[in-house]
Amino acid sequence: MSDQATGEQGLVQLLDPAGVRVETDQNAAYRERVAHLQPDHLRAMYRDMMLTRRFDDESTALQRQGELALFAQARGQEAAQVGSAYALAPQDYVFPSYREHGVLHVRGVDPVDRLRLFRGEDHGGWDPADHNAHLYALVLGSQVLHATGYAMGVQRDGLVGTGDPTRDTAVVAYFGDGTTSQGDVHEAMVFAAVNDAPVVFFLQNNQWAISEPTTRQAKVPLAHRGLGYGIPSVRVDGNDVLACYAVTLEALERAHSGGGPTLVEAFTYRMGAHTTSDDPTRYRDREEEERWRRRDPLDRLEAHLKATGAWDQAWWDGVEADAEALAERIRVETRELGAPPTSAMFEHVYATPHATVADEAAWQAEYETETEAAR
């Protein structure tokens, strides 16, 4: 049975699963966009994908040890995340969902800060202004509207179509296949389309919304939805880091130049569970997982680097050491994240004093003092 929603037709691909460059008439324009990439660039992409995976593995282990309340792995989606994030200009701004560890890694958000939410130590964890990267979104779809509104602000700031690559600014909203069913995503696309907002909707179709396959969300390839809004839309092999980079670059150029939004559907696979709370063996079969394992984004780039003589053993030893150091740091520093003081519960509820919060904070402080004294 051919499945419209999960078929692979029309995917932009530059690197096949064996790591061999793909040259077709259809991908010529995208090939030009990656033509400047040198072995150093490709190795850097590989390294960031590798570190993202190591972050995943260590965080999952920490959750199993009871150090994190929950964790959502990005395993399998490293190419989509790192490839798209590499296309960003420094002034561009991203709105992630809770699985965009690779994107946030490339944006420079500290790995321990990224775990504060999952540890239950903070609802955010970093200053969005430091990285032009907003906090994780948990109510899915909400961030897609925020990205659109932010992009409307960028427009009003006169920062599209200036022709200056250091000034032209775009916004990327990251979300998944399940999230496309949310009304907010529909509304975001309406707002973005009619306003020509400089936003890229970067949809990672990882095939599963917890236990529900994409066929429970759509009857057609998800990229087709963009066309209904008049938004240029493209499907890309989400496990091909070069193709993800190229299509995002094209989408960002459109946004930067004042050409409005683009929808990118990165066709990929979530190799782990939805989060550490669920069990994929209950809803999907080994054969499917094995099929996708053969399309692993890291293996693909590794094969390419080796085939083209760009794999360098000394470099690789350094990457492995970096990954181990990252894991060690996460292990040590995450455990050191203590509980914030009780008073933190009442801080920043409002930007200005609010009598109810002030009264309750005072009551809590007094109660705590009296309880301590009674011990």
Binding site: H146, G149, D184, F191
Partner: protein, 341 residues
């Protein structure tokens, strides 16, 4: 174009003027749009039409389509995109056309707008104002007469206010826009066409979003109300005065935070308290006021705090709303019950 087609709707914008309640808000918005290029007005039909209640009348002509933005018909989209604009440094003022239509945006308001400052530990602010014409008594159809303020007051991170006078409408909308916190601004739509004098040169009053005002002084009973019910309470006070009972009317103005000290001060003087609002009484703001007054002025009370409000039923059809809304008679009945203790 004939001479009569020349715009005459924008009055001079200084001094004391006799205008409608709706126009007081219009001029408040005009003032903030003129003061700060980062301020935006957005919503359905707010541009060329001037809003279904004409509250934004003339603003798009004066400030342009990028500042007074006609939005797609999508309330979650309006609020969600306003959040994004605020994150970019803008100060959006969203109009929700009617009370009952705020619910499609409820998620964005309660899970996103209210918590953005908190979850970022104060690193970002989202100074979004959401204007909602609310309340009944205008003979409208379903979903056009509701009072959902308690749902927002129950959500930490939101400031919830409602003006009852023209001057407050003008002052409070300016204070709401100036506030770094998100403000849910409930406009008593039944009062839109009432007229009065407004001092357009009044200085900014930031504390107005936190403080109640004594709308009428009295000694025998305190009537607590906000928004459209203040008028009802004042009418009841007039009737009580004719019977020889002196009622003090406290206009809360702020629903979150509640100015409990102001209410308690009044009740300590009068010994009696009746809370009036259009929203259903159960689990409502009147319950909160009653509880706080009981906690803080128990020994001053001569009678239990009594609530007068809507019923635990959906807002009824227009032909029955006069039975649902707290009328002057129902307020008087409550005062009688209080005085009987």
């Amino acid at each position: 174009m004939t001479a009569t087609a020349v715009r005459t709707s924008t009055p001079a914008v200084t001094g004391r003027q006799t205008i409608t309640f709706a126009k007081a808000i219009t001029l408040g918005l005009r003032s903030v749009l003129a003061d700060d290029p980062k301020t935006l007005v957005m919503g359905e039909d707010v541009g060329r039409l001037g809003g279904v209640f004409r509250v934004t009348d003339g603003l798009q002509a004066e400030f342009g389509e990028d500042r007074v933005v006609d939005s797609p018909l999508a309330e979650s989209g309006i609020v969600g995109s306003a959040i994004g604009l605020a994150l970019r440094g803008y100060r959006p003022v969203c109009e929700i056309q009617f009370d009952g239509f705020v619910f499609p945006a409820f998620d964005q308001i309660t899970t996103q707008l209210s918590k953005m400052h908190y979850r970022s530990r104060g690193r970002v602010t989202v100074p979004v104002v959401i204007r909602i014409p609310f309340g009944g008594g205008i003979g409208a159809v379903e979903h056009h007469s509701e009072s959902p303020e308690v749902l927002f007051a129950h959500t930490a991170g939101l400031r919830v206010v409602s003006p009852s006078t023209l001057q407050d409408a003008y002052d409070m909308i300016r204070a709401a826009v100036a506030s770094p916190d998100p403000v849910i601004f409930f406009e008593p739509k039944g009062r839109y066409w009432s007229k009065g004098e407004v001092d357009l040169d009044a200085p900014p009053a930031p504390g107005i979003l936190d403080t109640a005002r004594v709308a009428r002084t009295g000694d025998d009973v305190t009537l607590v109300a906000y928004g459209p019910s203040v008028q009802t309470a004042l009418q009841a006070a007039d009737a009580l005065a004719a019977e020889g009972t002196s009622a003090e009317v406290v206009d809360l103005r702020a629903i979150s935070p509640l100015d409990i000290p102001a209410v308690v001060a009044s009740v300590r003087k009068t010994g009696r308290c009746v809370v009036v609002h259009e929203a259903p009484t159960v689990h409502g703001i009147g319950a909160e006021v009653a509880s706080r007054v009981t906690e803080e002025a128990f020994h001053h009370l001569e009678a239990p705090v009594i609530r007068v409000g809507g019923f635990h039923a959906p807002y009824p059809v227009a032909k029955l709303e006069h039975h649902y809304l707290p009328s002057v008679d129902r307020v008087l009945d409550a005062v009688d019950r209080s005085l009987a203790y």
